[in-house]
């Protein structure tokens, strides 16, 4: 082979297309061999520089067990659990508060209604006493009157029966 390798052929060689014709030429031509070696060296240096560079940026191990961190308790699950717990606590506290206010109002109302009840009872008693026509001290007399009336009625009834017979 008299001519040197073209840039395409060298790229093709570097890309992995290493056929026998190119191989035999490289074995005979120091110029092409040198060009190829230079390209390989630059690419090798490039790879090395990327490795060193990324090593410098590699974050400190995020967690010793990323699996436990990612799978056992993923973030969304933690957040969900947190929100649920907070909601449950809020509900519990609000229900307790509501219950306590209810009992307080009940006791308050009970305390408040008891004098009213007694007052109304007293008032009813007074009304009853006032509404009676005869005072309490004269009640024995009313009983006498009632018994007298009853005896009169009986007499009258017996008289009516005698006339009838």
């Amino acid at each position: 082979m008299t001519r040197h390798l073209s840039p395409e052929e060298i790229s093709s060689w570097l890309a992995g297309d290493q056929d026998r014709a190119l191989q035999s030429h490289l074995g005979q031509c120091p110029k092409c061999c040198d060009e190829l070696r230079q390209s390989e060296e630059v690419l090798s240096r490039f790879g090395e520089s990327v490795r060193v560079w990324s090593q410098g940026h590699l974050p400190v191990s995020p967690s010793r067990s990323f699996i436990r961190g990612q799978i056992a308790t993923p973030f969304w699950l933690k957040a969900h659990a947190g929100v649920t717990i907070v909601t449950l606590l809020a509900l519990l506290m609000s229900s307790r508060h509501w219950l306590s206010t209810q009992t307080v109002t009940k006791t308050h109302s009970a305390v408040e209604t008891s004098p009213a009840v007694t007052d109304s009872a007293l008032l009813a008693q007074l009304n009853r006493q006032l509404s009676t026509a005869v005072p309490e001290s004269m009640e024995p007399l009313t009983e006498l009157i009632v018994s007298d009336r009853q005896s009169r009625m009986e007499e009258r009834n017996s008289g009516v029966r005698g006339i009838g017979q």
Binding site: S39, W53, I67, Q70
Partner: protein, 192 residues
Amino acid sequence: MDCLATSELLGTVDKTASDYLADFEAIARLQRPRIFRFLLASLRELDAAETLTQDCLFRAFRNREQFRGECSVDTWLMQIAVNLLRDHVKNRRLQFWRTTQRSAAPIADLHDVLVSAQQNCENVAVVQEQVRAVWEVAEKLPLKQRTVFLLKFVEDMDVPEICAATGMKPGTVKTHLFRALKTVRERLGERA
């Protein structure tokens, strides 16, 4: 050897769940720097690279029963990383109106990296310049070409492995590699 070790770790079936989990943690610890490196070199964004690396390992763990051992665990993980990268780039294109500031990985310290990497080289400055040019060109390559290029020259994967990781046919991989190399060498020729 790493490939074999990780394959053996995942391949064993008769294990308790805790053992399996512990094994996967070992795999994750081993493979995490490699996946992160590939994603960082592809995206040049620290946050995105970290997130995608974590997503990759998480997805691998979740779908670990689907792994049939047709390729090595390393290649399988890289396949997941490539898919995640593709989806990420696609979503980023759709969200072009977003003006959020990305956490671009600083390449300012690249100089130090290159100097430390090339202490034995005779013409350090020339090679430094060439490597810098490759960095610049690699960033501007189309996604498929860049992916194939990085897998080949950073991860030292051969064509069948790249095929398994990207789902491309060997001919397609070689074509993308050829185009990427052509662009890179053209740029290097311009600089020279």
